[in-house]
Amino acid sequence: MATRTVEVARGVPELAAERAVTWPRRTKARLSNGLEVILAESHSIPKFHGELFFRSGNAAVADRTPGLGEMTATVVRTGTAKRVSRQIEEDLRRIGADLSSSAGADTSAISFAGLAEFPEPLLGLVNELAREATFPEAEFERERRQKLEEVKLERTQPGFLASERLRKVLFGAHPYGQVSPSEAQVAAYKREDLQAVYRESYAPENALLLLVGDFDSQETLKTAEKVFGEWKGAKPATKTSAAPPNPRGRRVYLVHVPGAVQTQVLAGCHAITRKHPDWVKLGLTNSLYGGAFNSRLVMNIREDKGYTYSPRSGVNALRQHGYFSVSAAVRNDVVAASLTEIFYEMDRLRSVPVSRAELADAQNYLSGVFSMGLATQDGLLSQLSTVALNELPDDHLETYRQKVRALTPEDLLATARKYLDSANMQIVVVGDRAQIEEQAALFGELEIYDAQGTRLS
């Protein structure tokens, strides 16, 4: 609860009339080989940004071993039938391009940006990586050893340990339950396993090519057909995964980091995906709760109480399931006090309707920030990929603001009651056990783990 009354500003200029937001025209096409292409022009700088997505990530092959999608993507860029690793890197530099390849839970992607004057060489290289990666033995071995060091290192980061534990608790044996492989799993990676993933997933019928930048869409579409047209391959069969657990009642998971001088708090519960009809409602509710600088949670535990620098909440929309979470890195002696306020603000939204004025502020925020994506090439690319990968309606960009504006205090109350599931939040605290165990135990039955994931008590 805030302890200080808020004074209002005097003499603030009114807002002028809103200027219309016009999203650029999208050119959508399917190449002769089934590859879906979406292009949008943006002439802000003489460059273009692109992403070649594959609709299979780590989750699709988690039944083999965790992180296999990511490892495959990592090694993809290290050699093709035509170019060795060093050649690839120098050729990229020669055309002023950046490129990365990675995989998340639901997609694998080759992301790139380059000068507008060299579209064909860059798309040509992307095509080569998508079709003719050779997974050279020595490159694979180096990346595997590199990965081993990375998975050891991430266990020393409080943010990683917190999200790893929360995902385990919320998703259990579902592929979303393991965010990163163990050392033993990385040690057992085989080059052949990567090649199998590559053969199955990196196929045009499983892919989406997005291009945004300083080009003529029709001309670039022709270039894409010329470059990618010969590539063939079918969509892999989709597997259904076991339903994730549905934890009832608050429980607390303490990850013990000896000597930690701060505690990472993370609490979460199941929510919805972006395709769900309640998505916009939950987005607005979240922005009021802890999703914006002037949200209730930030004003409370940062600006009023000074417990933390970086509190925030968000809805994490994975493709099959979404979850709501709230996090803050707090001073060790205010772990219990911070959790109390985290739940207080959740319960307040669940019991008292928001005022019209506060609702209007939040509506303005969400619709204003949404349009920022228009201003830059990579911002626009990210908006377009959200729409396409989540299979949202074509007019999503044009209608979103209107949907936000239509919501009422009653909508928010119902949404908070449904999804800010205060009574069933799963709480993770990462810190020094000696300093925080008693505080943590006040909020539910306590399980204690070390940073390696071994249960201590």
Binding site: V12, L15, E89, Q157, T308, Y309, N364, A375
Partner: protein, 443 residues
């Protein structure tokens, strides 16, 4: 070759405030920045971390917009905001739908005219800043490495060598009188620049700047401490314990030339040759080929935005089966190779194309992807405050594209010298590094 030209208009108001307007109607969004020419380098002695703490105080209330109101008014107009402190400047910025432009200018003018904060605000933000330091530095593996570890090793002048985030004792000692004195000294219109970028017409932007800012009285021209370093004549070493991480680490920093000299352009290209991602010589050699390091990156930080001694810094995290000396020897070989053989015409051509492409990306680049035109704003601000020439944003590229192989080699010989560098070793306390005798040698 397609060139980018940024249209702009600039002026100086009667109170000395510089104004730059860069219109672009691509999106109905406007980015507004106010830069003050004071960073953590020149904050008061005994008050380490104060420039940054003060930045937080600028969000704590002004004469007509009390605590929380600035943030609330920007967010509820559909915008985002933040501020940051660096070596030589502190900035405040927001991106909003363009119908909120007047409101933003009113807010920025209000806090430039009269900051209004109390002890409770100061205590609150001191607590917030301590958690910021914990989450970014004290409770993170390799937190602050090397940006906080390097200065005390590399430099002798307090201005360059102190803890920029601040010793907690210094943060605790700061009081409201310090806040007001700092505000009065440095936060005067004649020590700052206002930038308006995006959906605004040039004449309108200038008229609005006059309307809201012209009435703010000028202050005395601030006196700046001299950040000059005594000449470095020996390699310097420092050691920091890594409390959480699993890998031995080191950072090597070489003192760089002054901004806007021929050497500066040459070193920027050499930086690109050495760092510059997976194609860079250091990553290629240490990570990809010899496989000693897990990470090898770095460069000249904020190359357009420094106004005092600065370094090109390489940050290396290496595998625990190697000792620091092995990794350093491999690093030294890469430097020696480029000094002895220079770079080829083909390599230089690649570097220039990449440099140009990166420059455009910098102009468009946001902060964390949410602040359109942050990069352009930053460059315009630095070129105005340090050079009084915002148009440099359209011409500065030439100097880099004209660099020759000979200039790069000469600059390398002049600046990549052991007696001009400092090295910080940051090794894990608990990892049990192998003793020298049975450590592996690099392949």
């Amino acid at each position: 070759m397609k060139r980018l030209h940024i249209a702009m208009e600039s002026t100086t108001l009667a109170n000395g405030l510089k104004v730059v307007i860069a219109p672009d109607s691509t999106a109905p969004v406007v980015t507004v920045g106010v830069y003050y020419k004071i960073g953590f380098r020149l904050e008061p002695r005994g008050r380490s971390g104060f420039a940054h703490l003060f930045e937080h105080m600028m969000f704590q209330g002004s004469a007509n917009a009390p605590k929380m109101q600035h943030i609330k008014l920007i967010n509820s107009s559909g915008g985002v905001l933040n501020g940051s402190t660096s070596y030589d400047v502190t900035n405040y910025y927001q991106a909003v739908p363009s119908n909120a432009l007047e409101r933003v200018l009113w807010l920025e003018a209000d806090r430039m005219r009269a900051l209004k904060v109390d002890d409770e605000n100061l205590k609150n933000q001191r607590d917030v800043v301590k958690e910021e330091v914990r989450v970014n530095v004290m409770n993170q593996p390799y937190g602050g490495f090397p940006w906080l570890d390097m200065p005390p090793v590399a430099f002798r002048n307090w201005a360059n060598a102190h803890n920029f985030y601040g010793d907690f004792a210094d943060l605790d000692a700061a009081d409201l009188a310090d806040v007001q004195a700092f505000f009065k000294t440095y936060y005067v219109p004649n020590n700052s620049v206002l930038l308006v970028l995006g959906d605004v017409k040039a004449a309108e932007g200038i008229a609005l700047a006059e309307k809201y800012f012209e009435g703010i009285p000028a202050g005395a021209a601030p006196h700046f401490a001299d950040p000059t370093e005594p000449e470095q004549t020996e390699e310097r070493h420092g050691f920091v314990e890594e409390k959480f991480g699993t890998l031995p680490a080191m950072a090597i920093g070489y003192l760089m030339p002054k901004r806007r000299t021929a050497d500066w352009c040459a070193m920027a290209l050499l930086d690109q040759a050495l760092h510059g991602g997976r194609a860079g010589r250091l990553y290629r050699d240490l990570v990809l080929e010899k496989q000693i390091a897990v990470e090898a990156d770095g460069g000249i930080d904020d190359i357009f935005g420094y106004n005092g001694p600065t370094q090109m810094t390489t940050r290396i995290l290496h595998k625990p089966e190697f000792i620091n000396e092995t990794a350093l020897a491999a690093f030294d070989l890469v430097i020696r190779e480029v000094l002895e053989n220079g770079i080829s015409a083909d390599e230089l051509e690649q570097l220039k194309v990449k440099w140009r492409s990166d420059y455009y990306a910098t102009l468009e680049g946001g902060r964390g992807g949410y602040m359109p035109k942050y990069g352009l704003m930053h460059l315009l601000a630095c070129f105005t405050l340090f050079d009084n020439e915002p148009q440099l944003v359209n011409t500065i590229l030439e100097g880099f594209l004209n660099v020759t192989r000979e200039e790069i080699q000469a600059a390398g010989e002049k600046y990549l010298r052991k007696e001009k560098r400092a090295i910080v070793f940051r090794n894990p306390v608990k990892a049990g590094l192998p003793a020298k005798a049975d450590a592996k040698e690099a392949a």
